[in-house]
């Protein structure tokens, strides 16, 4: 789960990482009041989760409270790369001597937490690592023993920090690692970490992604992320779903098979409307709910159900489908491929109710694509 910048800043404060002063505002009046409080130049930052907010005009400098209010009026309620801006942050403009980068990520390939630092922050770190790899330092951290002092010293030296500010950097690095592990982060990133002309460190942004699988340990963050209506509804029903822009609804069991089903539909010239995985061992009611969700979706013309029964029973699937089709399937076409446990019984149920089962995933995908036209 991606956190908003203001949530990340809250966590930074909790872990003793220095952040620039800020306030969160949902209205123009609040923005003006905050700008007046801070006095002088402020930065108004749209609170959205999409990447590339700065380039899309979501981060802007205001010379005075009037201008801050103007900017806020433009931003609030507008949409940045398709995401509605519901709130903004107001923060005093910080003079910067140098921008640094600090981050911890879960590196899938190395199977380790990796510390990444750079003395040239403020840009996207992946891009920097490509254009000037010499300016990016990556250190593997042993997850059992944690971040070592010698690694911290090396990282701070790499950022060319000395004396008092180096001590600050040591503290900040250690705090960020503590946050990264204790909060179960996939990513905890300060970019930029500003070095001010008077030799202080200030985090000017906060990018944190929490591990969805660990949210049970962090109940304060359980709001739904940026999901479409279908995705949210599916999750509420206990499915994993992703909405696409086609007209063939897809239901499968297992993530890999469901993805392969989408790919096959596309391969046969159709356009998938979604990804929906009912999971293993789906019972009649579960399939019924999933099928209703897609059959009532205005964009779905054809529903393609692809089930490979292992622990999932084909007769249960067939019953669920028939029940949903009878209730809400008018005017929609349903293509079913069933294979595996209790296959014959499942097929019989489908046939008795006017639905034609297929044996092959490829053939069924072809039919689905043709029916959608």
């Amino acid at each position: 789960m991606k956190l908003y910048e203001f949530e990340g800043r809250e966590l930074f404060s909790r872990y003793g990482i220095p952040v620039s002063g800020y306030g969160v505002a949902g209205s123009v009046e609040e923005v003006r009041r905050l700008a007046e409080e801070f006095g002088g130049k402020v930065v108004v930052k749209a609170q959205v989760l999409v990447a590339g907010r700065g380039k899309a005009g979501g981060v802007r400098v205001a010379e005075n409270p009037d201008q801050a209010a103007e900017l806020a009026a433009e931003m609030l309620g507008s949409s940045i790369k398709g995401e509605r801006v519901k709130s903004v942050i107001v923060t005093p403009f910080t003079e910067i001597a140098r921008e640094l980068y600090l981050g911890f990520i879960v590196d899938r390939a190395r199977r380790r937490p990796v510390l990444i630092v750079s003395g040239e922050g403020g840009v996207e770190i992946e891009a920097l690592a490509k254009t000037s790899p010499g300016n990016v330092l990556k250190l593997d951290v042993d997850p059992l023993t944690g971040l070592r002092d010698y690694q911290v010293r090396r990282a701070v030296g790499f950022m060319r920090l000395r004396d008092k500010v180096a001590e600050e950097a040591v503290k900040t690095l250690k705090s960020l690692y503590r946050l990264f592990t204790e909060m179960d982060c996939e990513l905890a990133e300060i970019n930029p970490l500003a070095l001010t002309p008077d030799q202080r460190l200030v985090a000017l942004d906060a990018k944190i992604i929490l591990d969805d699988n660990a949210l049970f340990r962090h109940r304060e963050f359980t709001r739904p992320s940026s999901e479409s209506g279908l995705e949210e509804e599916a999750r509420r029903l206990g499915f994993s779903a992703v909405e696409l822009d086609g007209d063939i609804g897809i239901i499968g069991n297992g993530a890999g098979l469901t993805m392969a089903t989408m790919d096959m539909v596309k391969f046969k010239g159709g356009r998938p409307a979604n990804f929906l995985d009912v999971g293993g061992g789906a019972a009649e009611e579960v399939v019924d709910r999933a099928a209703r969700l897609l059959l009532t979706h205005p964009r779905v013309k054809v529903l393609f159900v692809n089930i490979l029964g292992g622990i999932t029973r084909c007769d249960e699937v067939a019953r669920g489908l028939v029940s949903a089709y009878r209730a809400v399937g008018q005017g929609k076409r349903v293509v079913v491929r069933l294979m595996g446990t209790n296959e014959e019984e499942g097929k019989k149920i489908l046939r008795e109710n006017g639905l034609l089962p297929y044996d092959s995933m490829e053939e069924a995908a072809e039919v689905a694509a043709r029916l959608a036209g």
Binding site: V106, R111, P143, D184, A260, G310, I311
Partner: protein, 294 residues
């Protein structure tokens, strides 16, 4: 011959008294797998399908010293502790079926297993099957058949789809390894490919990948570097997946411009791997290869 599990495999099921644990214990026993014991804290003294249940792994091993493999079927919040309990009792192979294990837990126990010289398969995987010898996992046993095709996969049902097609072509499998759909897993493609390379019973390999991460690209580099001596046929799921969306598996996400299917297909093709466009094409391609045991 086979890899990871065979006729000498003696299984402990951790979480045996749960609904899934009991169901799959029955299925494994029916397949002929030697399930020696189960563990569920607080349920010691019971039995599941005639398999004795103990309160701890230590107790189970004291009574069944031949156990060498553990199947973890406990809820995600307790999975890490169960893995440590198995590793601390010197179990060599730990297969984790559990889905939704926090990634920081996985990072730690995978590292710990490495230090102890043990192997971990999963989390979030269907397990391992060596047809005719042992099934340590949740896959439907009847769709597999003894043969010379090794299968390694990040997926569950998609593996069944492809394995069954291989079976229907009259070919069979040496061992099928579901390495798991999480971003961090115990054994990766390269480690399993290396085992298949050394296995006399494996004549060809099927690699089933999906979007997310760069495990397929690294496998491609390994295949190229080693001039891999056995034919490899691959299938990659998620060619139509949109960026920044998790496709069911925690690890199946095109993130920050990396991990898309095209990059994987390109890397594998460049390494001389045949990448099938559809799951059924995998078995067709295999059946045309020369000298694969039927």
């Amino acid at each position: 011959m086979a890899i990871l599990v065979d006729g000498n495999t003696r299984v402990l099921v951790q979480g045996i008294t749960g609904r899934q644990g009991a169901f799959h214990t029955r299925a494994m026993l029916r397949y002929g797998t030697r399930v020696e014991a189960g563990v569920t804290p607080g349920k010691g003294g019971q039995n599941v399908e005639g398999v004795p249940v103990y309160d701890s792994v230590e107790e189970a091993l004291a009574n069944h010293p031949s156990i060498n493999t553990s199947l973890i079927m406990v809820p995600a919040a307790y999975a890490a502790d169960a893995v440590y309990e198995a590793l601390d009792n010197d179990i060599e192979l730990v297969v984790i079926i559990t889905e939704h294990v926090p990634v920081h837990d996985t990072l730690k126990f995978v590292r710990y297993a490495g230090l102890r010289g043990a192997r971990i398969i999963g989390p979030n995987c269907p397990g391992v099957i060596t047809p005719g010898a042992a099934k340590v996992g949740i896959m439907p046993g009847h769709i597999f058949k003894q043969g010379g095709v090794g299968i390694v996969s990040r997926s569950g049902t998609l593996t069944y789809e492809i394995a069954y097609a291989v079976t229907l072509k009259g070919l069979g499998q040496s061992t099928c390894v579901g390495i798991g759909g999480d971003p961090v897993v115990g054994m990766d493609f390269i480690e399993v490919l290396e085992m298949f390379r050394k296995d006399n019973g494996t004549e060809a390999v099927v690699l089933i990948g999906e979007i997310g991460g760069d495990m397929e690209e690294r496998a491609a580099a390994y295949i190229k570097e080693t001039s891999y001596p056995k034919p490899v046929v691959a299938y990659i799921a998620g060619r139509t997946a949109p960026p920044e969306k998790r496709m069911g598996h925690a690890g199946a996400i095109i993130s920050m411009g990396a991990g898309d299917a095209e990059s994987k297909v390109r890397a594998l093709t460049a390494a001389g791997v045949y990448v099938a466009s559809t799951p059924s094409e995998v078995a067709e391609k295999l059946s045309k290869l020369q000298g694969i045991n039927r």
